[in-house]
């Protein structure tokens, strides 16, 4: 994979950098890492981080230390669909443990693993701010709330269907 943003994305990078004072372009680091992760396979490989460093004229180490600090940046490859299931108090009292177990059994993986076909990754996360709609998980850019076993089945089917349409 060539690690380079399209012209359109590079314009977006310029626009992002211009939001911060001159000489403070490093402030655009988190937004750029999000862009890079979305663009280059869903995780941040070292060459990707080096590319972001180059775009911001900062040292690669400044990118590594930041990327490893924030839980949304993936430091290794993940599945096409990542189930990030909340396990904190309010979700726990509404049955998140059962949901996590159900997904484990259904997909045949444990927390942190990816299915052999590279389709699904299961991750447990801490409070995502959906406590009133528990149990919940993040899937891509959106939240799936009021989870039940039936709902998990439907979400898995939906992902498989979307994947086959997109291929």
């Amino acid at each position: 994979m060539t690690i380079k943003f399209s012209e359109e994305k590079l314009n977006a990078v310029k626009e992002l950098i211009a939001r911060y004072p001159e000489g403070k372009q490093k402030s655009a680091l988190l937004p750029l890492l999000h862009m890079a992760q979305d663009e280059f396979g869903g995780w941040l490989d070292v060459p990707v981080m080096d590319y972001v460093a180059e775009l911001l004229s900062i040292e690669p180490i400044e990118v590594y230390e930041v990327a490893t600090f924030y839980s949304m940046f993936n430091m290794k490859p993940v599945g096409k669909y990542m189930f990030e299931v909340c396990q904190t108090g309010p979700c726990m009292v509404n049955g998140s443990d059962d949901i996590i177990d159900y997904i484990k059994n259904k997909l045949g993986i444990t927390v942190g693993q990816t299915t052999p076909d590279g389709m699904f990754t299961l991750k447990t996360v801490e409070c995502l701010g959906a406590c009133g709609y528990a149990p919940m998980m993040q899937l891509g850019k959106t939240y799936r709330e009021h989870l039940t076993k039936e709902k998990i089945d439907r979400i898995i089917d939906e992902c498989r269907k979307n994947a086959s349409v997109n291929n």
Binding site: K26, Y70, T88, E126
Partner: protein, 452 residues
């Protein structure tokens, strides 16, 4: 009938769009504010008695008045939308359904503080809300409320949404500032305070979403009118995010005079405990504040009705009270295990500790490990005292309040539910099969007769 200042129009169809929002009185506060001087706006906010709605409850007008104004140095307003305190999801609701209310509050506040570049730091997981806010900002700009020389006042203002990437600690204002600068979210040592040296070492005010939205009704109706709502130093209205084992989880706006009992059991609010169960415990203000058993929640230790105000929730200090905090109201029913719940919170704080201060970095992991042992029937009686000792040594010994936030839930759980912990130690097998249950936690408390 409850007073609604923020959510009054939340259910109007299309209120998310500029046209509908404007038609229902939106952006009036900006028109009014532009006829005032910035100092007059700060005065109005001071008069209102508004307290920071993120959790600390610091008076907003006072915070604004601390902002340094060195010649030739730009100042910034930063909106803290990094809502991550377990149990709290009110800012999400405001931004998702009333984005223009926040933008309106931000424009007035930016004018008051002379911030020409204002940032909304939003937690990374709220990705779809970034689009909603960007859309609202674009609409506001197209209609002349943002940009250069707004409404001919000579005031310039741009608002940018800055997305975080998953770190609870970035809700702490100096960590948020570091993160906004593109660094790890490690809190700074204070002083200097952000009001003097904040983002890019410029004077900065960081305010929560709800706080900034509340500026709109304060300017519209006047600070004095706002201060007359509520009770004591709990002025205006507060958004509560109710969750846990209740019939009607969701976001409620209250005027801080209703009783805790009414809030939990009335159909207007939580609608009672789910599945007809009994109330065992509650964390009234987000996971960091002390958990209270049912009997201390509904009444204070003095036997008075506890109401949903800053003062009443804190009545009795940490010995018998709790805190309003962020308004994340989590209810636990009789089937919930306090040991397990505390373990879950300990894991949360361990995961979210930035690692800068050793008492927090090491202490949170240690507490989680011990709580895991206790929960899974491998605990010793001495572990309970050890936990107490560890939390005490974290509290007050860290750069930022995350250490305290990690210590308090453990301390309160042991303080009020010690026998449940002991039961786990004494019944390692049974505790794996069933929960301790309601026990005596809802029994009327013994109120000692007044002395003298």
């Amino acid at each position: 009938m409850a007073i609604k200042l923020l959510l009054e129009n939340a259910h109007i169809e299309g209120i998310r769009s500029y046209d509908v929002y404007r038609k229902h009185g939106g952006y009036r506060s900006v028109e009014k504010a532009f006829k005032m001087t910035p100092d007059e706006i700060v005065e109005e906010v001071k008069k209102s008695g508004l307290r920071g709605r993120g959790g600390a409850g610091f008076p907003t007008g006072l915070k604004w008045s601390f902002l340094a104004k060195p010649e030739g140095v730009p100042r910034h307003l930063v909106c803290n939308a990094d809502e991550s305190e377990p149990g709290t999801f009110k800012d999400r609701y405001l931004m998702e359904f009333l984005p223009h209310l926040l933008i309106e509050g931000l424009i007035v506040s930016s004018f008051a503080l002379n911030s020409n570049h204002t940032y909304i730091y939003i937690r990374g997981e709220y990705a779809w809300i970034v689009d909603i806010l960007d859309q609202a900002i674009a609409e506001a700009k197209n209609n002349g409320w943002l940009g250069k020389n707004i409404l001919g006042t000579g005031f310039d203002c741009e608002i940018y949404v800055h997305r975080g990437a998953g770190a609870y600690i970035c809700g702490e204002e100096t960590a948020l500032i570091e993160s906004l600068e593109g660094k790890r979210g490690n809190p700074r040592i204070k002083p200097p305070f952000p009001a003097v040296q904040g983002v890019w070492m410029r004077p900065t005010v960081v305010n929560n979403v709800e706080t900034l939205a509340a500026v709109v009704p304060i300017i519209n109706n006047g600070g004095e009118a706002y201060s007359k709502i509520g009770i004591g130093k709990s002025t205006g209205t507060k958004l509560l995010s109710a969750c846990g084992n209740i019939n009607k989880p969701g976001i409620y706006e209250i005027d801080m005079t209703c009783s805790v009992e009414e809030f939990i059991y009335s159909d207007e609010y939580c609608g009672g405990i789910a599945k007809g169960k009994k109330l065992k415990a509650c964390i009234p203000g987000g996971s960091s504040v002390p958990i209270l058993p049912a009997n201390l929640l509904l009444k204070t230790a003095k036997g008075e009705t506890r109401i949903m105000s800053y003062e009443s929730l804190a009545d009795g200090g940490f010995a018998t009270g709790s805190m309003m905090g962020s308004g994340g109201f989590e209810v636990l029913d009789e089937d919930q295990c306090v040991v397990r719940h505390t373990m879950s919170l300990a894991r949360f704080y361990n995961h979210e500790s930035c690692g800068q201060c050793s008492p927090c970095r090491e202490g949170t992991g240690w507490m989680y490990k011990i709580l895991k042992n206790l929960e899974y029937g491998k605990g010793k009686m001495s572990d309970i005292d050890l936990l107490w000792d560890i939390q005490r040594k974290i509290e007050g010994n860290t750069i930022c309040p995350l250490g305290d936030a990690a210590a308090w839930p453990v301390a309160a759980a042991i303080r009020h539910f010690r026998d449940e912990f002991e039961w786990h130690v004494l019944n390692p097998d049974e505790s794996q099969k069933r929960n301790y249950g309601l026990a005596h936690y809802a029994d009327p408390i013994h109120v000692p007769a007044a002395v003298g």
